[in-house]
């Protein structure tokens, strides 16, 4: 039975076989895409990907939490004093305050602790994460670990002086 083409073991790894195998495997792989894709956010979820916020209701010193893509976003109306206090760089991830805001009196940050994803609570001089004790200042920069990074700044833009759209 040395021949490659006999009844028990017919020749099959020829050109035709290779083409068919490759074409079949490609199709099978492509057929998986709808399954994978169906787990991505659906159209109605994506259509909630931007959030419009009216800032006129937030008094100076006040904070407002809005949902953006299902996540809490903190909008802090900072007083002159708070802005001045933020001139110094923070220690853990040093970033200048100006780089984190578009207008100094409005701080917009994603309210999710960069450590393990809890929502920090507003405290005296910033935020305190109740889960593991991370602290953030009034620019959303981490001042005390274990959080490794500053709070994320979401993409947003001012539609008018007191209206922003996040996302």
């Amino acid at each position: 039975m040395s021949s490659k083409d006999n009844v028990v073991n017919p020749e099959r790894r020829n050109f035709l076989g290779k083409v068919t195998t490759v074409a079949g495997a490609t199709g099978a792989a492509a057929a998986c895409w709808p399954l994978v894709s169906s787990m991505n956010p659906s159209v109605d979820v994506l259509s909630n990907a931007t959030t419009e916020v009216d800032l006129s209701h937030i008094p100076p010193g006040g904070m407002h939490t809005v949902a953006w893509q299902g996540k809490p976003v903190f909008i802090l109306h900072r007083t002159e004093e708070e802005i001045n206090r933020m001139k110094e760089l923070s220690q853990i991830e040093p970033v200048a305050d100006e780089k984190r805001v578009q207008q100094p009196q409005w701080l917009v940050v994603v309210g999710i602790c960069t450590h393990l994803g809890c929502v920090p609570n507003r405290s005296e001089n910033g935020w305190l994460c109740a889960c593991h004790g991370s602290q953030y200042d009034d620019s959303g920069r981490v001042t005390h670990g274990p959080a490794p990074h500053n709070l994320d700044v979401p993409p947003y833009k001012f539609l008018s002086a007191d209206r922003i759209v996040i996302g």
Binding site: N6, P10, L16, A23, G27
Partner: protein, 219 residues
Amino acid sequence: MNKRFLLPLLLSLFSSFALANEIELEHDPIPTDRASVLRGAEQVATVCSSCHGLKYVQYRSLLDLGIAKETVDVWRGDKPLNSAMKPQMAPDDAAAAFGVTPPDLSLMAVAREGGVHYLYSYLMGYGVGANGETTNRIFTVTKMPDVLGISAASDAKQREEISAKAKDITAFLNWAADPRAGDRRSLGIYVIIYLLIMTILLFLWKKQIWRKIDAMEKL
């Protein structure tokens, strides 16, 4: 085509039974082109939506259909883009005025036996009864007035215009019932072509592998 008709259709060739109580529907072809659907959308959004909502169709999906943002903004008023197309009249008020709550139209094109043909025949089915009252031959107990005015149409040209309008409305509601049907068909063509090629390749390969067996004496 509906499965309830498939088997009887085959069997009625050699059987003497007829389906009982079937209403004769008009089987005019319902257009599927974009222009008709867009004209229908305007009719539905400005006329039908006084009473009827489409709770599964959001204003944003009208943008995907290709309707200009400005037009959709006019139709939606102060409702957000993510809002479903709601009726202008509150359902309770409509129920008080007509005696029934006007049904939602999202799935109307597929929710009746006969589908779009039922819908078109219904819109065109108004007539004048013996006592001068408006009747509908398709859905005799309907509470909806003859909005398109087919029962009062006197000449052929008028009827033609109303028929075109009814077809546009039906075309839009047909889209609304299954907005992904377009994607479905265009993907389907590629899938079928691919599968046919695979069938041919596999057929040839099978013949090649089975060559020695096929040459043997049949059992």
